[in-house]
Symmetry: C2
Subunit: 238 residues, 2 copies
């Protein structure tokens, strides 16, 4: 496995996406707006995937804090930390994040979005629809915005993937001096999600981007659940 992109990358915002609703095909909405090429990786935010999959719940009649508390409890299998209204929990997928990914922004009042129930499957469906429409396969990453315990600010990471490597395994690789590499497993799916966030922003309604120019061998079957979610037995901080 090589971990170097052979050429410059481009990160292209998908402009002009409409408001997405249940049943909409994100694959078609993206492919109608940008000419995809072989080797492209399409990054879509959790929010539009959740909207397309109907993972938006009606919270009208409840104040936001009450609704959030109930939804976070339902979407979590374990609470790790609590500070004020911030809960850090482990979701049913195994993600550790704030408020189990329950989010009220970029939605009408009285609505909350939950994470897709199986974001790898969400990515697979988008990839399958794109593959059926195009004459070549592309990779798909579903991204969300997570905090980190020891660093301020949030970054986008991959919560689902299809057709593009999540973690590159460089164990056994040697550096230019013939010494084993120290950094042997690189989470390129998270780096792809972060690169895409730089052109998507948080407030501007750009829920998809294309990363173009990644090494062809990175486009292979993949899964965030299998490759990225750290099992409890390996975890030093839970």
């Amino acid at each position: 496995v090589t971990d170097q992109a052979a050429r410059p990358l481009e990160v292209l915002p998908v402009q002009g996406m409409p408001e997405v609703g249940p049943g909409d095909s994100i694959a078609d909405l993206v492919a109608d707006r940008i000419q995809l090429r072989q080797g492209d990786v399409v990054v879509v935010t959790q929010k539009v995937v959740s909207k397309a999959e109907g993972r938006v719940v009606d919270t009208s009649g409840l104040d936001e804090e009450t609704a959030k508390a109930a939804l976070v409890a339902r979407e979590s299998r374990r609470v790790l930390r609590r500070r004020g209204s911030l809960l850090v929990t482990e979701t049913h997928h195994g993600f550790v994040c704030a408020n189990a990914g329950v989010d009220f922004s970029n939605l009408p009042r009285g609505r909350a979005a939950l994470l897709p129930s199986d974001p790898d499957r969400s990515a697979r469906r988008i990839r399958d629809r794109l593959a059926a429409r195009l004459s070549f396969p592309v990779g798909v990453v579903v991204s969300d915005t997570f905090g980190r315990p020891w660093r301020r600010g949030l970054v986008d990471v991959a919560i689902g993937a299809a057709g593009v490597a999540c973690v590159l395994d460089l164990r056994g690789s040697l550096d230019a001096h013939g010494r084993p590499l120290e950094a042997t497993e690189v989470c390129v799916a998270d780096e792809i999600a972060s690169a895409a966030e730089l052109v998507m922003g948080k407030a501007k309604g750009v829920p998809a981007a294309v990363v173009r120019g990644l090494p062809a061998e990175w486009l292979r079957p993949s899964s965030v659940a299998a490759e990225v979610v750290r099992p409890h037995r390996e975890d030093l901080f839970r």
Copy 2:
């Protein structure tokens, strides 16, 4: 503050960098190899910065595990977790990472690299030299490869910065529905470092990249130490 890049991004590897030694000017090595433009952000890896700053120590005569243990102890102010030969420590800078950033790869045998003693200062020096040489300012990020507690695989993050925003503060911003954003602080410096890693790789000797096309207003005075390192009082996981 807007958080959206107005146009596509390009991420360009800086090809043909030589082996770097003490006293070398990374700014000149980069600017000799790539035509920089206004608004560019130059990302350089910790390893070349440490080599240029002489932060490489002689460990010959010691076996690697003994040398590593001694150096990690010296470079850390606190050990958070230990498993086998892996130590997760807090460095004197406040970074939480494996082995205090002490690294033996991409060096001759009998040598170990330490993190720069002040990576923001390292970034500032590179930026100042570039600004003196060019007729316009550019941003600089010093990157390193860190693990994350709940996700497998490593990603590149910013350990130093100059002239480019580290954390965008979007508090008070409203989304398209007029609701406050949930994700209000975005660590774009880490996302820039991750985007750059995608073209640098770990084994191929590409220690610098240029991210082109970020919003002009992101180029402003900055500091990883001040903006990104989370103070103990805010920390839920230390």
